[in-house]
Amino acid sequence: MKLISRLADPRYYQVAVLTTLLGIGVFVLDFGIRWQNAVAIILTAQAAQFICSRLSGLPRFDPMSALITSLSLTLLLRTELIALAVAAAAIAISSKFIIRVNGKHVFNPANAALVTLMLLSDYAWVSSGQWGSAAIGAFGLACLGFLVLTRARRAETTIAFLACYGALLFGRALWLGDPISIPVHQLQNGALLIFAFFMISDPKTTPDAAIGRVVFAALVAAVAFTIQFIFYQPNGPILALILSAPLVPVIDALLQGTHYRWENPDAQSSTHLKGVQT
């Protein structure tokens, strides 16, 4: 029984897929992930999770979410300075415990850390083009596999985001008279897929109601498109998510839904657990 309930937790699949991606990135694509950074991020995140759990009186220490945050950060964050990698992990985890509204944390932890470091330091960046198109096929399969394995629970956020963002890209090409190869190329971006499958999809920081999640994903897509193609700044989706996140409590207030619990994603109960959930 315990094993079945564990397998119901989609985080195990997330960890498996992210670790595979990390392996491809380091050993096949060689795109500049430093193992020292990976170790520093994982250790700091676990330590921060442990300390914050104790301080906030959580009944038990749950390493899984912090591990997923660490893997996302390792995949996306580039820096030469190990201190910044440590800072990223610390910011990510502590933001979960500090910035909360109605028992939910507001910002996706990895997202909050990435944006904070990119804004505050010249020495941290996101390499969005480093996956290359050759890896995209395998990458897409891994992500789709993830959807199938988790039986598409709460996958509407990912699907709505990709559909809206894709529609905007194709619409832009149509309006400009560009060949279709341009939006297709723009969608073949590894960082975009990591974002869509492992960041915006985070059920803890998206609205509780399904319709709310679709509205939220569409909003993030529109803001990302604006940043990327009207203001011509890189990393549109990552910036869009942090800008849109404060609207999640508003959407939650307007649309009733079920609070998400990792351990039992199918639960329909609307009662919230006491204490802080991460």
């Binding site: 580039r78 390499s127 290359g132 400009l176 297709v184 190329h185 723009q186 971006n189 011509y232």
Partner: protein, 446 residues
């Protein structure tokens, strides 16, 4: 008069020339960027949202037939256009070029000693010397008139830009098919255009035998290089070198993979005489490995120094002329502050081979915080050739092992035939190492 159209540099869209079809034939294989046909060079100086772009022209037709249409990300005024100094780009090319270094084994009978002997002179023979010499020449004062240097510049306002195609047609410029769509797309993205034509009288007055690079300074969020117009003519793939000069760190493309070329590799001695062929074939092989969709990093270094130097770092004055606007105005002042070399300038050299199929979208860049130095460096280790005062059997065996390893690496990097490579290696002691016969399937997937 009948005009033929071709495209030349990444930014050049319309070239009017009667000798367009012939220009591919003028190239002579040399080191540096001239190794590749149809190579264009662009220097991008970027900080915040300010950009100064310098476009080097490899046009070798009749100057009076030369006209280019250049897209720029924002509206520009006359003062934003300048004519640069070609020698500075050649110096930048030489400074950032992939380099061959050589070591000589010490006397194996004494003690094993490695000594770094050289930098560029043997590696990049004639070309580098010539580049070094020409880099010393000074720029020319540009006249502050509507005619900038040898160019007549036609800045088209927004309204005129919209009628750009019509205007070009009315003025006898034939547009390559497909150009209209791309121009429309650029206009839709808020880009503007200007036309530069050579003023023959001015050119003969100035006395230049070649076209000097055009420079444009503009303010825009777009850190990009429009390459789509350069892909319109079906003349095959083109080479593009982008030198980015930034304040913080390495520049990379955000919409294509930026890959480091193999470096610090030991190569057989004969590569010294075939360095150009080696580099060209190695580059081709690497582009194929990346499915012809990658941008390659050839150099990333703090402009203040180099090791080994293929050419001296650019001077304060040269950098100022390239548009590095954050440097102080006064060289004396810089020297007084004990800064003989420019500070706060990081140079990134990117090299790509592109066509419309593999690079459908313009190049978008970002500056990263990466200040790690990188250079394309290839190493030759010469075995000891002096008098032997002891038994060299053991030493020769180790040299042969090294030579065989180098042969295999070279074959792997360039796709050259391993038997040909072995044939060119003078194996130590005159003994060819016994090579295990390769299984037939070993290279079928290459």
């Amino acid at each position: 008069m009948k005009f033929f159209i071709t495209t030349l540099t990444a930014l050049v869209t319309v070239m009017v020339t009667t000798t367009a079809q012939a220009f591919c034939g003028f190239y002579v294989a040399r080191a540096d960027t001239s190794l590749f046909n149809r190579a264009s060079q662009v220097v991008l100086v970027r900080d915040d949202n300010r950009t100064v772009i310098t476009m080097a022209n490899d046009f070798e037709g009749e100057a009076r037939d030369f006209a280019v249409v250049i897209p720029v990300p924002s509206m520009i005024e006359r003062e934003q256009i300048n004519v640069g100094d070609r020698a500075i780009i050649q110096h930048l090319d030489a400074y950032t070029s992939p380099r061959l270094v050589e070591y000589h084994d010490g006397d194996p009978c004494a003690r094993y000693d490695r000594e770094e002997l050289m930098s560029q002179d043997a590696a990049l023979p004639a070309a580098a010397k010539e580049l070094k010499r020409s880099a010393r020449s000074r720029g020319v004062t540009i006249e502050a008139s509507y005619t900038v240097g040898e160019y007549d510049i036609l800045i088209l306002s927004a309204n005129q830009s919209n009628g750009l195609i019509r205007w070009l047609n009315e003025n006898g410029y034939n547009i390559p098919s497909g150009a209209e769509r791309v121009v429309d797309s650029y206009l839709g993205q808020g880009m503007r255009f200007f036309v530069a034509r050579v003023n023959i009288q001015e050119q003969s007055k100035l006395g230049f035998q070649y076209l000097r690079p055009l420079q444009v300074a503009y303010e825009s969020n777009k850190f990009m290089l429009p390459i789509r117009l350069g892909t319109l003519n079906a003349q095959g793939k083109q080479e593009l070198y982008v030198y980015a000069l930034t304040r913080t760190g390495r520049v990379e493309t955000t919409n294509y993979r930026t890959v480091k070329l193999p470096t610090n590799v030991e190569v057989p001695e004969f590569v010294e005489g075939e360095f150009a062929d080696f580099y060209r074939d190695m580059f081709t092989r690497q582009t194929q490995k990346e499915n012809e969709r990658a941008v390659f990093l050839e150099y990333a270094w703090d402009m203040a120094w180099c090791d080994p130097c293929a050419a001296d770092p650019l001077s304060h004055e040269e950098l100022r002329k390239l548009g590095v606007f954050w440097l102080g105005d006064n060289e004396q002042e810089a020297q007084r502050r004990m800064q003989p070399r420019a500070q706060n300038v990081f140079v990134t050299r990117l090299h790509l081979r592109y066509d419309a199929e593999h690079f459908p979208e313009d190049l978008m860049f970002q500056e990263t915080g990466d200040r790690q130095n990188y250079q394309g460096r290839y190493v030759i280790r010469h075995p000891w050739k002096g008098e032997a005062s002891c038994d060299l059997t053991q030493y020769d065996a180790s040299v042969r092992e090294r030579q065989e390893r180098e042969a295999q690496l070279l074959a792997n990097m360039t796709g050259w035939d391993i038997a040909d490579i072995r044939g060119k290696i003078p194996f130590a002691g005159g003994i060819r190492p016994e090579t295990v016969k390769e299984p037939w399937w070993k290279r079928i997937w290459d």
